[in-house]
């Protein structure tokens, strides 16, 4: 069980690193959003999954899952808003 947890958390960290790398290296805002959402959604999800077996009781586990869910919703909306705003601006320029 512990090895599984370690593997999950390492994989989650990998996604965070890759997402951050993409955020820093991509030169287009849309690609950056694409990169960072991987870190938020998949990376954090894997971290939460990896931490779940260590939860002391059910409430802690539910809280962990809830954090993931809230971040999912918030990051999806924030990414949408950024992209939407960008699109509007570009259309305004043309």
């Amino acid at each position: 069980m512990m090895y599984l947890q370690i593997a999950l958390i390492c994989l989650g960290c990998f996604f965070f690193i890759v997402g951050t790398l993409g955020l820093l290296r991509f030169n287009d805002a849309y690609s950056r959003i694409h990169a960072i959402t991987k870190a938020d959604n998949l990376g954090l999800g894997l971290l939460v999954l990896g931490l779940l077996p260590s939860a002391v009781n059910a409430f802690q586990g539910i809280k962990l899952l809830l954090i993931w869910l809230l971040v999912l919703v918030a990051s999806a909306t924030a990414s949408y808003l950024i992209a939407h705003y960008l699109k509007q601006q570009q259309e305004g320029d043309v």
Binding site: L70, V71, V73, A74, S75, T77, A78, Y80, L81, I82, H84, Y85
Partner: protein
């Protein structure tokens, strides 16, 4: 392992602080400041001060970040309005003395702080022990709440008074323009998200207020979350700030009024100012805290909503990211 994490955290904190000061772009500086606040919250967690961490994350990073982003949006909108030029600060080179003076005073303060740490007097009484000793008399189980609302409630009373004065000044400075039209950023997705997210935010705010009597939490943290929910609603295009103007003013002052009323009414029973009868101390503290939470939430929100509407509605997008 923990030491390595702490060192990394400290370095990241310093880098963020440097980023705030040295970035040319104001918006970047504000984003760095928000990151700095979140890292600082982590530092407080590492220092075993979850109360401060909650307050820092909610007020220092979240709400102050929203206010600053709003201010930057105003600045850039104003500049674009006036000259059609990008906002930049590279205009005038600062004078030499204006650089030497801050460096000089910073060095002096640094030396004084070092000296204060070096020649630290032995504490005559151990304050944590003192608090733990008299905790049963305070009416609450969490030592921080006991200190803030009972042993040192004078400070909290002044804090809420300062907040009230600040918001009164902000309201007085508001230009008497026409009301901003509601729903200028009525985005269906943002609208739907806020409709689903605000009820849990309110529940969390009340939970944190309630938790304050036996674990980390309390009026300021709960109030900040309440304010965040209100800011969120406003950004999503619900015209809530116009719903009840006179009620809002009462609500702003309610916390301070209740606090002061309780503080003075105990004097009728012959007690000194701001001491609660032990039998009802817990109930009184909770009552005061509930009113404080309500008022702090409204005050923090009003500081945001009383700002004049931006020339171009650019702030609605950026502020949303801080809600998580």
């Amino acid at each position: 392992m923990n030491l390595a994490f702490d060192v990394l955290l400290g370095i990241a904190l310093l880098l963020c602080a440097a980023g705030v000061f040295y970035s040319r772009d104001l918006f970047r500086a504000v984003v760095m400041f928000i990151a700095f606040g979140l890292l600082l919250a982590l530092v407080w967690v590492r220092l075993d001060a979850p109360d401060l961490a909650l307050a820092e994350a909610a007020i220092g990073a979240g709400l102050t970040g929203v206010l600053m982003i709003d201010a930057v949006a105003h600045l850039s909108a104003k500049n674009a309005h006036h000259q059609g030029a990008q906002f930049d600060q590279t205009g005038a080179r600062p004078q030499l003395w204006s650089r030497i003076l801050p460096v000089f005073s910073a060095v002096i303060i640094f030396i004084l702080l070092l000296g204060a740490i070096w020649w630290r007097p032995d504490a005559p009484v151990s304050l944590p022990d003192l608090v733990a000793e008299s905790l049963p008399e305070s009416g609450v189980e969490h030592p921080i709440t006991a200190v803030l609302l009972n042993f040192r409630s004078y400070d909290t009373l002044l804090e809420i008074a300062v907040l009230l004065v600040a918001v009164v000044v902000a309201m007085a400075l508001k230009p008497d323009t026409s009301e901003p039209e509601a729903g200028n950023s009525k985005d269906p997705i943002l609208h739907g998200l806020s409709a689903r997210l605000v009820p849990p935010m309110l529940v969390v705010g009340v939970y944190i207020l309630w938790a304050g009597s036996y674990m980390p939490g309390g009026a300021f943290q709960g109030g900040a979350i309440l304010a965040a929910a209100l800011v969120f609603l406003k950004l999503a295009g619900f015209g809530i700030e116009r719903l009840a103007d006179s009620l809002l003013r009462i609500g702003l002052a309610l916390g301070f009024i209740v606090f002061l009323t309780v503080a003075t009414s105990v004097m009728i029973g012959g007690r000194p100012f701001l001491t609660y009868p032990e039998s009802v101390a817990g109930e009184l503290i909770f009552f005061i805290e509930a009113m404080l939470t309500f008022s702090i939430g409204l005050i923090l929100f009003s500081l945001f909503s009383q700002a004049p509407p931006p020339v171009a509605p650019t702030s609605s997008l950026q502020g949303e990211q801080d809600e998580r």
